[in-house]
Symmetry: C2
Subunit: 82 residues, 2 copies
């Protein structure tokens, strides 16, 4: 995770989209591996200083893109097929 992995509330992209880009980059970088769980919502909230509703919005976007999938009561996992 680099120094650029920060949310700018004033940025052109909405924070929930910025976070999506950050997470996508982290997955591409191998921070989280396919088939394995990534950070929980709560962890992302703490790491990026966003509200949980905002983090959930990001995850919904990543699910749409097929980058991750959510297992209820378990966590969010990196898709194997991307």
């Amino acid at each position: 995770m680099g120094p650029d992995d920060e949310i700018d509330p004033e940025g052109e992209l909405a924070p929930f989209r910025q976070l999506a880009e950050i997470i996508a980059a982290r997955i591409a970088r191998g921070d989280w591996l396919p088939g394995r769980p990534m950070a929980s919502e709560t962890q992302l909230v703490q790491q990026y200083g966003l509200a949980r509703s905002t983090v959930r919005r990001t995850i919904a976007l990543l699910v749409e893109r097929g980058l991750v999938y959510v297992v209820p009561q378990r966590g969010t996992y990196v898709s194997k097929d991307r």
Copy 2:
């Protein structure tokens, strides 16, 4: 709109899903026509006694299903191709 078009907070389906079914039925019934705007978020909030965030969730679900599409600052429209 019939007497069954009401949200039951205790129902099996979550309110945002109940509303999706209601709207789908109303579209099928012809309450709103393809290519034309349906009720605004605020109107749905008032008509069904839900929070705006809940109504938006319903709309997101209907967009996913391809039943409606949203034009920012204009309204939510019934898809022509369904």
